[in-house]
Symmetry: C2
Subunit: 133 residues, 2 copies
DNA sequence: CAGAATCCTACCTGATACTG
DNA sequence: CAGTATCAGGTAGGATTCTG
């Protein structure tokens, strides 16, 4: 009993190789939630995704999409038009992430501003703690 | 209209400096969701957290906790016992993250195994795509 | 358009030593 | 106990260039 077991979920957070832990690691990085959020709105093309996610590089976008594809969360469809277009979409499994991810985005929208103001308030405390010279 | 606006949430994902976007970035990294998840179960001490989150270094744990503190999501309370103990707890603002984070953990538990099996299935596809000599 | 390839840096890890 | 400090090494990620 080295790990606290939570009423509802029995995840061994203490073990990085635990499948649940690996699943969590997969969806908690800088770009994955954003990509999934956009895809949860419907299929989307590469350049569309890139334009809508500020700051992402094509390397990271490609890498993130490949990962989602490999894990069975998204599909990649190439339309042989000219110029070619590639469309990404969530799989049924990927769709199950819609709710959790949207909750996260919902929270971000609600508390983004509150957090900023809290920081301002906390600044004086910081100054006191740091005690620069 | 360069960014898709989503029915419920108006977040400019295309702008990294958007407060909502910054809030999201804050909670989507390797360690923050895990720390918040554990704290959402009640106040917890440093060593307890460290033991329960497999693979985290003391540097990253401290860094993550400081960030949560600075953003007003968690509190740090020092009990001047001997040896001293430090307890971390969510603030009311931090508590608002309970549901979203638990949803994420819930998903991880449910689909951790499914994803593995999907990967196995997808392997043959990968082989075909890579076409190694 | 949708990437692949390359280079390069910042951050993270891991180990260890030290402190109040 | 709850950190801080340091240093070696690896890897994730950014910037740039090129391509079918």
């Amino acid at each position: 009993m080295e790990t606290r077991t939570h009423a509802a979920y029995e995840i061994k957070l203490s073990d990085r190789r635990c499948p649940s832990r690996r699943a969590l690691d997969l969806i908690t990085d800088r770009w994955t939630p954003l990509v999934i959020f956009l895809l949860s709105d419907g299929p989307c093309r590469y350049t569309q995704l890139k334009r809508q996610i500020g700051g992402i590089t094509q390397k990271m976008l490609t890498q993130t999409l490949r990962k989602l594809e490999d894990e069975g969360l998204a599909t990649r469809t190439v339309y042989p038009t000219s110029p070619p277009s590639v469309e990404y979409a969530l799989t049924p499994l990927g769709e199950t992430l819609r709710e959790p991810i949207q909750q996260l985005l919902h929270w971000s929208r609600s508390y983004g501003l509150q957090m900023r103001s809290t920081r301002e308030v906390a600044k004086s405390d910081e100054e006191r703690r740091k005690d620069p010279e």
